[in-house]
């Protein structure tokens, strides 16, 4: 199975699971934060290519990482967002706070 966390230089790619709800966000939060500290991460990229569902718990996870990495001079970004994820990001105001990359080929 593909790991949820992929280190690409100073970037940590988080392969967001199929459902990002309260149940799934706990493990992501803890592992991401320990990697940010240990690996000198400058960017967290949330990759939504496998994600079909996200609620406000997912927003909490992204905002939490945003706050943590901003303190360290880093940034948060997102890629492969479908219409549904976009709707949630726009509604929460996050769409304007983070970097949105175009779909990967």
């Amino acid at each position: 199975m593909e790991s949820i966390f992929q280190l690409e230089g100073e970037m940590l790619r988080i392969l967001v699971p199929k459902d990002l709800d309260h149940h799934n966000c706990i493990a992501i939060r803890e592992t991401a934060d320990s990697l940010i500290l240990k690996e000198n991460i400058k960017e967290i990229l949330f990759d939504f290519k496998n994600t079909e569902f996200m609620d406000s718990s997912g927003i909490g996870v992204i905002i939490g990482r945003y706050k943590n990495i901003k303190c360290l001079g880093g940034q948060v970004s997102a890629i492969n967002i479908n219409e549904r994820i976009k709707k949630i990001l726009v509604l929460s105001g996050l769409y304007k706070m983070i970097i949105i990359y175009e779909q990967e080929a």
């Binding site: 459902d19 709800d21 309260h22 149940h23 966000c25 706990i26 939060r29 569902f53 609620d55 406000s56 718990s57 927003i59 909490g60 996870v61 905002i63 939490g64 219409e83 549904r84 949630i88 509604l91 929460s92």
Partner: protein, 140 residues
């Protein structure tokens, strides 16, 4: 007149968030909702159930009941817990307000329920519990 009713009772465990939203999505299928309507309903149900688990019961394992009914082309959902209740409903509904920043709650739960359903109504009594009533007309 088209009418259908269902009632579920489940433990306030986080894995039941997915179960609850999928159950309601399946229940509403005969109305031929669009994908977007299904996703809206799933998100709203997920928010309400998560609230009961985190806030209502403070992560204790108790019971949540979910009642859903279809009348003509409308879906009605009730999500009830018997937990701590909400002291100030108006405050709880303010976007970005949360009593649990320690759990990284975004404070967007009620805002999402309001955005994705046609109407929501909250009844709550301290130490008795909370019931969320939501409905949505399915345009299909």
């Amino acid at each position: 007149m088209r009418e259908n009713n269902m009632k579920l009772e489940f433990d306030s465990r986080s894995e039941n968030e997915g179960f609850a939203r999928i159950a309601v999505a399946a229940f509403v299928t005969p109305l031929n909702p669009t994908l977007e309507e299904i996703e809206d309903i799933k998100t709203a149900v997920s928010e309400a159930v998560t609230n009961s688990i985190i806030h209502g019961y403070g992560e204790r394992i108790e019971k949540i009941t979910l009642t859903a009914s279809i009348k003509e082309n409308q879906l009605f959902v009730e999500i009830q817990d018997f937990g701590c209740g909400i002291e100030n409903i108006e405050k709880a509904m303010e976007p970005m307000y949360t009593t649990r920043p320690d759990l990284e709650r975004s404070g967007m739960g009620f805002a999402f329920m309001e955005a994705f359903m046609d109407d929501i109504h909250i009844e709550s009594e301290v130490n008795k519990g909370t019931t969320i009533y939501m409905n949505k007309k399915i345009m299909g």
